[in-house]
């Protein structure tokens, strides 16, 4: 999934930031957010988790989910 994530992160860098956390090496947050499988995408705004999506998906769906969680209407 990295190329998808990278492409989305680069394209929407002015709208949101994309970060990655390796569940194998960073167990504390993995446990803290009840991560059951990978990839899991959690959307944070103002320090609060507002949504999460689990599983690989095409970039358009990923973008749609994120913008939807942020309440931003997709332009294309």
């Amino acid at each position: 999934m990295k190329p998808v994530v990278t492409a989305v992160a680069l394209e929407y860098r002015d709208t949101f930031t994309f970060a990655r956390l390796d569940v194998n090496t960073q167990p504390e947050k993995t446990v803290a957010y009840y991560i059951r499988g990978t990839p899991t995408y959690i959307v944070f705004k103002d320090g609060e988790m507002i949504d999460q999506f689990i599983g690989a998906m095409p970039s358009t769906k990923l973008v749609g989910n994120i913008l939807g969680a942020l309440g931003i209407e997709e332009t294309e």
């Binding site: 999934m1 990295k2 994530v5 990278t6 992160a9 680069l10 860098r13 709208t15 949101f16 930031t17 994309f18 970060a19 990655r20 956390l21 390796d22 569940v23 194998n24 090496t25 960073q26 167990p27 504390e28 947050k29 993995t30 957010y33 991560i35 990978t38 990839p39 899991t40 995408y41 959690i42 959307v43 944070f44 705004k45 320090g47 994120i66 942020l70």
Partner: protein
């Protein structure tokens, strides 16, 4: 003729008898002289003959003999009787004036005596002024006479004489200055006062001048006891003094015309101990032959007058302020470079400055001493007209090492440099000056602002001049340290790809600060590597 003579003798005998009594009573010299008709100093028959020869006549004025013996205008029997009455008498000659002392027209004083000498004892002496004393042939006329012009008329039985004199007041000694018995120097003057102008003055020593009532006697007088005798027409006086050596100035240090400071001393040396020393400025102290005059003197031009009993001297000086050290830079005991400059500041422009090391320049109150100084401990001795000081420094070995880059936000050869960078900083091994610029690989200036200050150089982004990703840039410039050692700067770096760093990698440790504190929405991809 015999008959006539016989008749006259008879007549004379008869008349002599008849007039005997008369003759004894009348012995007036004037009558005797009248009776001595032929003026042969004897009254005899020849005189009778002469009278008889003119009997009945009236004598004229031009007659050489005057037979009118009684002066009644006619020669008659009365004249014969008068001659006959003195027959046998001799007629003394008239008393004549011989000489006078003082001589006529001389100057005398009011109480002087005038002595007249006659050839015989004068009779019936009277004078117009003064008192007469007659001794034998001498007549003394004693004053007081009235001062001024004297026309002294002396009249005696046989004549009169007018003697002209100038009568003056006698001069009496009144006082002497300096006082008698006081001390003099050889060239002093002694002034004697008289109540009237003295005349015929002589002095035993010195040279005198007379002005009215004053006689001034000027030396040189011989050192030792002086018995000065002054004699004048009316008296003499001996004045005793002690003549000492005059004290003369021999040397002055510093010499007149030089420059001294306000607190300097001026030393005068005399050939003998001076007396009554006064000075116009400063304080004078006399010790033996030396007078030391100590300030403070007023800055500027000084005309210092020293007066002592025997003279005075005016010495000219220029008085300047004392110059005091105020500060030195760099501070003493600090470290210097061999070519550093040491600056001393004084409160006034110093004079006669010397230093034992370095090259010196003076500007107003400042003395700058520039190296090269010898590495090691420097004992710098600065001497000026008013003082001397020693300063110690440690002089470092010369700096021949060029400045080097010790660290920086970007190093030469770096790749993957964040193209969003807005500031590039480089640190050097020492303080430097110089220029720095951000260039393209082709050498064109990118347009960032470069600054070199202290031991850092920095390049700051100018908006619109952002770095491009995956591009080669060169940081170029030149810096030099304070010793002038130069270093060229050439740092080549390549910016990262546009994808580098996206997405960002987070850990448990920075999760809260990166994710929860983010001000923009953030999506975290929990993934499993591999």
């Amino acid at each position: 003729m015999k008959k006539l003579i016989c008749s006259l003798l008879t007549l004379s005998l008869a008349l002599s008898v008849l007039t005997a009594a008369y003759t004894e009573e009348e012995t007036d010299i004037d009558i005797l002289r009248a009776a001595d008709v032929n003026a042969d100093r004897m009254i005899n028959v020849l005189d009778l003959v002469l009278v008889a020869g003119f009997l009945g006549e009236t004598p004229t004025e031009d007659q050489t003999v005057n037979p009118d013996v009684n002066g009644d205008g006619t020669v008659n029997i009365l004249d014969l009787v008068l001659v006959a009455s003195y027959i046998g008498e001799t007629v003394r000659p008239p008393v004549a004036f011989v000489s006078v002392d003082p001589a006529v027209d001389a100057e005398i004083t009011v109480n002087d005596s005038i002595t007249l000498t006659f050839d015989n004892l004068p009779e019936d002496v009277t004078v117009s002024e003064g008192v007469v004393t007659i001794t034998d042939n001498t007549v003394s006329i004693t004053g007081p006479f009235a001062p001024g012009t004297l026309a002294l008329m002396i009249t005696w039985a046989d004549g009169s004489e007018t003697l002209n004199y100038t009568v003056r007041q006698p001069a009496d000694f009144v006082s002497a200055e300096p006082e008698i018995s006081s001390e003099l120097i050889p060239d002093d003057s002694i002034t004697l006062m008289f109540d009237h102008p003295p005349e015929d003055v002589t002095v035993s020593e010195g040279v005198f001048t007379i002005s009215d009532n004053t006689v001034t006697i000027t030396g040189p007088f011989t050192p030792g006891a002086l018995a000065l005798t002054i004699t004048w027409a009316d008296g003499s006086e001996t004045l005793n003094y002690t003549v000492r050596q005059a004290v003369a100035l021999e040397t002055v240090e510093p010499t007149t015309g030089t420059e001294i400071t306000v607190n300097d001393s001026i030393i005068l040396t005399f050939d003998h101990p001076p007396e009554d020393v006064t000075v116009s400025e400063g304080v004078g102290l006399t010790t033996d032959n030396t007078v030391t005059i100590t300030g403070p003197f007023t800055p500027g031009t000084l005309a210092l007058t020293i007066t002592w009993a025997d003279g005075s001297e005016t010495l000219n000086y220029t008085i300047r302020q004392l110059v005091a050290f105020e500060s030195i830079d760099p501070t003493v005991e600090s470290q210097l470079n061999v070519d550093d400059t040491i600056t001393l500041t004084f409160d006034n422009p110093p004079k006669d400055v010397t230093v034992n090391e370095g090259d010196m320049t003076i500007t107003d109150n400042t003395v700058s001493i520039t190296g090269p100084f010898t590495p090691g401990t420097l004992k710098l001795i600065v001497t000026w007209a008013d003082g001397s000081l020693e300063f110690t420094y440690e002089v470092a070995e010369p700096d021949t090492e060029a400045p080097s880059i010790t660290s920086g936000t970007i190093g030469d050869g770096d790749e993957g440099v964040d193209s969003s960078s807005t500031l590039i900083e480089i640190e050097f091994s020492e303080e430097v000056n110089g220029t720095i610029a951000l260039q393209t690989e082709a050498g064109d200036d990118v347009g960032w602002v470069g600054e070199v200050a202290g031991n850092k150089a920095k390049l700051e982004l100018v908006k619109g001049k952002e770095l491009d990703p995956e591009t080669t840039y060169i940081i170029a410039g030149k810096v030099e340290d304070t010793a002038g050692n130069e270093t060229d700067i050439s740092i080549t770096f390549v910016t990262a790809s546009a994808y580098d760093g996206i997405p960002i990698e987070v850990t448990d440790a920075d999760f809260d600060t990166v994710v929860l504190a983010s001000e923009v929405p953030i999506v975290v991809d929990f993934y499993k590597d591999g």
